[in-house]
Symmetry: C2
C-alpha cells in the first residue's frame, strides 16, 4: 500500500481547483488568549458541501479514466464523505451510489441525495456495508471511492494543509482530527515535505481512541466504541494511514467529550463560525494540552460545519 | 448638521486601520439559489469586538485632539457600540464611561466592562440616559461619542462599504440594516460617490419601522415599539441620518420577525457563520422581496455576531 507524495498532492491541488474552494484562514485574539497559543483556523467548514471531504472525493473522481468514469462510483458513508462523493460525481457527470446504514437519520440521507447521489440502504453493520458495496461494484463496475484507504483521497485531503502552509509558512505545528486518518495522513505528508521541523498532531476523542492506541503500539488496535458527540470521527485507522502516521506524525492526543463541546462553543462564540463537533476536536486538544503549545503558532484544520442547528450539544 | 464626504470616509479608513480588521467577504451557492440573487456578505461579525461598531467608534476616538482625549469619552449603549467605544478608548489609552440602562442583562454589561469601559447604570428611559451622559460630560469634560448622530461615527461606518466595493466593484445593489441609520448613512455616501448607479437599500424589522415611515414621509416619525428579536435595531433616525437617506438611499424595506429568524438560520446553515438577528435583516429583506433583487449582485453588510448561544431564536 503506497502513500501519496508531495508531487501527488500538488497534482491534486491542480485537479480539484475547479470544484473545491480555496478556503480562508481565520484568527481570533480572544481564542488565542484562552489557549495561550496563536491559532490559525483553516476554515473547511466554508468548503463546498460543508467539509474538507470534497477535496479527496473530487481528486479520486477527477482522476478516473473516461472508461472508469462511465461505470460510476460507489462508496459507503452516512456523512460528509457521502455528500462529497455525490457532489464530485455530479460535477463530472457520472453516477454515484452511496451505501448508507438504514439507521442513519433521514436528514443526512437527504443531504447526500440532494447532491445527486443514489442512496442504497443497508443493515447497520460493517459486514453488511462491505457486502452492499461489493454487490454494486460487481454489478455496475463502479469504482469504490473509499473515505480514507485510497491514495487519491489522501492526496486530495492534503491540499488543505498545502494551502494553509502557503498562506502561513511560519507555523510551528499543525493539527487535524482523526477518524480513519485520511486527512491527517495528507496533512502530515505535506508538512514533512515542505518543512521537516513542523510538528504534526492528531486529535481524537478519548472515547474513540483507536488511533492514539495504534500510534503508540505500532499496530492496528480495535475501535472499542463509537459513542462520541464528534460523529465524523467514528472511523478506524487502516494499515495505510497508520504507516503514514508512524512516518510523519509527532503525536496523537485525546480529549474528553466535555472538552469537545466547550471548544466548539468557544469557536462559535469568539470566531463567529459554525463548526461541527468533529471540527472542534483539534482546538479542544490545544486547550487541554496547553503547556505543550504555549506561545506557539499552530495551524488547525476546522474540518466541517454540518450539524443540526436545532439541537446543539451544549443544550441538554 | 453636516454629512461626511467620501474624503472623510477615506481618511477614516486610514485612521482606523491599526484597530479595525479588513473583514472578508463570503458567498454561498446555497443561499444564492434560495434568494435567486448573487449575494456578497461583508462579514462584520468577524470584526474586532464582534460588530462593525468599532469602525465608527475608533474613527471618532482616534480623531480627538490630545487635549480632548485626555478628558475621556462617554456614550450610551447597552450593546455593540458600548464594546466598541470601550475597546477604541483602551487602544488610545483614555477613559470611557458607558451609560447603560439598569435593565440591561448582566452579560452585556460585562462585555463592555471587559473591554475596559466604566459602566454607569441609569434608569431605563431616554430622559434618564441623556441626563446621565450630561452629568458625566459636565463633570469630566468627556466627549460624547454618539452611536450614530456624529459625523466621525458615520464616516467610520462607511469604511465597511468602501472595502466591500473595492473587493467587488461590480455590485448592482448594497444593503444594510437600520437602527439610528449611521451604518446605512456611511454606506450610502460611499456608494453614491463611487458608483452613482448602485442602488442602496435599508432593511428594517416591521415592528420598529420608524426609518421606513420617516423615509416615505420626509420627516422624523416616532418609534412606536422596540419589541423585536433584532435587538441591535431599536434606535430611531435623527435629522442628520434622515437627510443623508433622502439624498442617497433607493428604498427602505421591512421584514417580519419570522422572516428575520428564518434568514438568520439559513445564514448559519449555509454560510456556516454566526450572525446575530440584527445582522440577518438585510438577507431577510432579499428573501422577502425576491422579485426586486432577482438575478442581481447584492452586497449585504452582516453587521455582527454577538448573541447568547444558549438561547437561539428558532428554539422556543
Amino acid at each position: 500500500m503506497t502513500a501519496p507524495t508531495l508531487q501527488d498532492i500538488l497534482e491534486a491541488a491542480l485537479r480539484i481547483a475547479p470544484l473545491a474552494h480555496r478556503t480562508p484562514v481565520l484568527t481570533s485574539r480572544g481564542l488565542d488568549e484562552l489557549c495561550s497559543a496563536q491559532v490559525f483556523f483553516k476554515c473547511e467548514n466554508f468548503q463546498r458541501t460543508g467539509s474538507f471531504k470534497i477535496r479527496g472525493a473530487s481528486n479520486a473522481i477527477l482522476a478516473l479514466s473516461d472508461e472508469e468514469a462511465r461505470r460510476g462510483v460507489v462508496t459507503h458513508s452516512s456523512g460528509n464523505h457521502a455528500s462529497a462523493v455525490a457532489c464530485a460525481a455530479r460535477h463530472r457527470g457520472i453516477h454515484a451510489t452511496i451505501v448508507v446504514p438504514n439507521n442513519t437519520p433521514k436528514a443526512k440521507q437527504e443531504t447526500a441525495a440532494g447532491f445527486g447521489g443514489e442512496i442504497h440502504l443497508c443493515e447497520p453493520t460493517l459486514a453488511a456495508r462491505s457486502a452492499a458495496v461489493e454487490v454494486i461494484r460487481q454489478r455496475t463496475g463502479a469504482t469504490m471511492v473509499h473515505p480514507y484507504d485510497n491514495e487519491f483521497v489522501i492526496a486530495g485531503q492534503g491540499t488543505a494543509a498545502l494551502e494553509l502552509m502557503e498562506d502561513f509558512p511560519d507555523l510551528d505545528a499543525i493539527a487535524a482530527p482523526i477518524s480513519g486518518g485520511g486527512l491527517l495522513s495528507g496533512t502530515s505528508i505535506v508538512a514533512k515535505a515542505l518543512k521537516p521541523g513542523l510538528e504534526v498532531f492528531g486529535a481524537e476523542p478519548e472515547r474513540v481512541d483507536d488511533a492514539c492506541r495504534s500510534f503508540r503500539s505500532g499496530k492496528l488496535e480495535p475501535l472499542l466504541s463509537t459513542d462520541t458527540i464528534a460523529d465524523g470521527l467514528r472511523g478506524a485507522l487502516c494499515e495505510r494511514t497508520l504507516g503514514i502516521f508512524q512516518a510523519n506524525v509527532t503525536d496523537v492526543l485525546t480529549v474528553s467529550e466535555a472538552q469537545i463541546i466547550e471548544a466548539m462553543k468557544l469557536i462559535w462564540r469568539y470566531a463567529k463560525i459554525v463548526v461541527e463537533p468533529s471540527g472542534a476536536v483539534p482546538f479542544a486538544m490545544l486547550m487541554a494540552h496547553r503547556g505543550r503549545f504555549a506561545g506557539r503558532r499552530v495551524g488547525l484544520i476546522l474540518t466541517g460545519g454540518n450539524l443540526d442547528l436545532d439541537k446543539l450539544p451544549w443544550q441538554t
